[in-house]
Amino acid sequence: MNFMASKQPENSLLGPEADSQRTLYPYVTGTSVVALKYKDGILMAADMGGSYGSTLRYKSVERMKSIGKHSLLGASGEISDFQEILRYLDELILYDNMWDDGNSLGPKEVHNYLTRVMYNRRNKFNPLWNSLVLGGVKNGQKYLGTVSMIGVNFEDNHVATGFGNHLARPILRQEWHENLSYEDGVRLLEKCMRVLLYRDRSAINKLQIAKITEEGTTISRPYSLKTYWEFSAFANPAQGAVGTW
């Protein structure tokens, strides 16, 4: 009785924070997404892990989805917020299709729409806890951009989220060039994903690579990368630094 009675007033004293509908911290999260522009369009890679804190709980989470005819969205961060974003985009594309005229929303438009959504949520102190990568091709024009949970957005020839920014981008800065072939692009992405696999503890060895071109989107079947653990540094990691683990 007493217990119940005290719950009510406390709630109202909290004022706006009484709204239990906000994201305060993420629960089930995806790790890095990496993407680059290549000759025919965009290549994007993400693993299929959904971590629950430090537990690698879900291992078949598809973190890249095709949006409309011209776009591909990859997300890291809170998986439920990603699913919410997919619902928003579903509605957006639906209304776009319902016009039934010759016009359609391209990757640039979708990217800017997402930027508005993310920024407006941030302003209400109720962010969608994701970092998004939006890529696509329309009328021969390739587009690749990213939006963060606070609404920071930009376009570039290669983008990444989370750990990808620290581990993958430097590789891409060195090795990316205009008009990569499909094979070279995939090889480059796999190189990045392998580094992330070795060094990011939330990464799992089950990934998908998605490609979007003027013709459409293809998301590969899940597969794993070959890894090599026999490096001498791995064999005796404490050698250089006594007391380390």
Binding site: D101, G102, N103, L105, G106, K108, Y113
Partner: protein, 274 residues
């Protein structure tokens, strides 16, 4: 149009299945001063006749820029036109802000038409008394639409609305097949000719008309008076060269033929590459 017992409000049907208030609204468009529009594959030209009430006053603004890629010319109740232009500007700017992309004119026109339709189905409203010629660029090219007070909209290669627009329409009907591939300057010339038709003999000068252009690589803008006067002078000169019957300011019927001949021959000699 005769007064009858079914025309008091817009939500009353006549036994013949007509909404008289809507038809009266379309009459208001016919009474306004003329506005014309024509398009090629890449450009659209809007023109209108601007008559000031008196020498002391300025003339009414009938052409509005809605966005870099969309403009509108109105005929009828200009106050209604202004309000609708503000709505269109708002829609364009909101779309641009959200999507960083220009609003496709086809969608704007449908939104406008739906807005007009609402006023034909509410007893406490009245239809907008203005016809709009909406010119805009889309992914699929250049478009010209006519929005009616009834809530209908149509796409046109060329069109004229307002008083004495029939004369302009006749001219446009004769010439429209050449518009698709016409150059921008030829299109403006045709617009000026069409406006001249509605003036019924009055001299065409840049003070009585306004011309606006929008095209691929050319944002919507209203041409300044000096440029318009130059273009008028250019083809009027050619008209005079072509023979006595074609003297400028003569009967409207004689002129179109002579102009056509003049324009055709003139393209060879033309001093209009100014």
């Amino acid at each position: 149009m005769f007064r009858n017992q079914y025309d008091t409000d817009v939500t009353t049907w006549s036994p013949a299945g007509r909404l008289f208030q809507v038809e009266y609204a379309m009459e208001a468009v016919k009474q306004g001063s003329a506005a014309i529009g024509l398009r090629s594959k890449t450009h659209i030209v809007l023109g209108c006749v601007n008559k000031a009430n008196s020498e002391l006053s300025s003339h009414q603004k009938k052409i509005f820029k809605v966005d870099d890629h969309i403009g509108v010319a109105i005929a009828g109740l200009t106050a209604d036109g202004r309000v609708l232009s503000r709505y269109m500007r708002n829609e364009c700017i909101n779309y641009s802000f959200t999507y960083e992309s220009p609003l496709p004119v086809g969608r704007l026109v449908v939104q406008l038409a739906d807005k007009a339709q609402v006023c034909t189905q509410r007893s406490w409203k009245r239809p907008y008394g203005v016809g709009l010629l909406v010119a805009g660029l889309d992914e699929s090219g250049a478009h010209l639409y006519y929005n009616c007070p009834s809530g209908n909209y149509f796409e046109y290669q060329a069109f004229a609305i307002g008083s004495r627009s029939q004369a302009a329409k006749t001219y446009l009907e004769r010439r429209f097949e050449s518009f698709t591939d016409a150059s921008r300057d030829d299109l403006v010339k045709d617009a000026l000719m069409a406006i001249r038709e509605t003036l019924q003999g009055e001299t065409l000068k840049s003070s009585v008309c306004t011309i606006a252009v929008v095209g691929v690589g050319e944002p919507f803008h209203i041409l300044d008076q000096a440029t318009v006067q130059q273009m008028i002078d250019a083809f009027e000169i050619v008209g005079e060269q072509e023979g006595p019957a074609a003297a400028a300011g003569q009967e409207a019927s004689a002129e179109p033929e002579a102009e056509q001949g003049g324009a055709a021959a003139g393209e060879g000699v033309a001093p209009m590459d100014i």
